[in-house]
Amino acid sequence: MVGASLWLTGTVVSAESATPSGRILMVDVPGWPGNLAGQHLDLRLTAEDGYQAVRSYSIASVGSATTIELAVDELPDGEVSPYLVRDVQPGDQLEVRGPLGGYFVWRETQPEPVQLIAGGSGVVPLMAMSRAHHRTGSTAPFRLLYSVRTPENAYFTDELAGFESDSFRLDWVYTRSAPEGWPAAPGRLMRDTLEAAAIPAEQQPTVYVCGPTGFVEAASRLLLDLGHEEARVRTERFGGY
């Protein structure tokens, strides 16, 4: 991790609208040392008057590539995210510091079952884990429970569907509106849904939960209630309520 506090200059390669409120950015960062699945970076913007703002963003890509992928949701009254979601264009420069964090990480040497639980843009680090799982041909059972407001609000839908196999299962929770004919009424993640759609505690999965702070805390409480051990539930809170 030496050098992690060094700011590197990245250039936006592409900025594609992915959901009604979010974009996927590809950023080329010469000198980027590569990253593990689940790590994040700090992104710094500097205004013309010298004012700086720093925010953390998870990295959806994994491995040694120096072009990294971010997915950013806009908070309408936010300082940084509206710029990343509306304004930044290919060719623009951003400063980044990382990769950061060794805790919210999945390594291909982990043999145990893994339950991923994402709320909204919290899917980003879990996407990196899913990609690593797929790419390395890991046989560890993976299951991703992805909670989104509406189907249109989901990132990486097609790529995730392509991962589905004996060792990767994908489950959806829709909180505001579900696709036509969906068997469950839209609503927040409930105990029953989690019990039905998550690897049971008896199988001792490592659980990674990521998303807005309120979502992460609610999901963690349900997991403990379902008998998952606190030490096997890893969380990453994105902020908010």
Partner: protein, 93 residues
């Protein structure tokens, strides 16, 4: 070389000599550091602590008892770490 009463030896130098070893401690991945809470005595991996971020810095709370472990405040180009709520921090090197 000087000798302590228990027979171990040490060298008296000054702070310049610990630049290397301290950088080993402080450049480790802090999310995996284990911090001991002064009020309740529990040790936690820093990644599991509760953190309150604001523009001036951040407050790190013990996940067991929610007392403040430490705070970091940035004023101008000075960054200050206040460690009143913790007794130790250890990292794997």
């Amino acid at each position: 070389m000087a000798r302590l009463t228990d027979g171990s030896e040490f060298v008296r130098v000054d702070g310049n000599a610990i630049a290397g070893p301290l950088s080993e401690l402080l450049s480790a991945d802090m999310t995996m550091a284990v911090v001991t809470c002064a009020p309740c005595g529990s040790g936690s991996v820093l990644a599991t602590a509760v953190v309150e971020l604001d523009p001036a810095g951040f407050i790190v709370l013990c996940p067991s008892c929610r007392h403040t472990l430490f705070t970091v405040v940035k004023t101008g180009n000075r960054m200050t770490l206040d460690v009143q709520g913790m007794t130790d921090l250890s990292v794997t090197v």
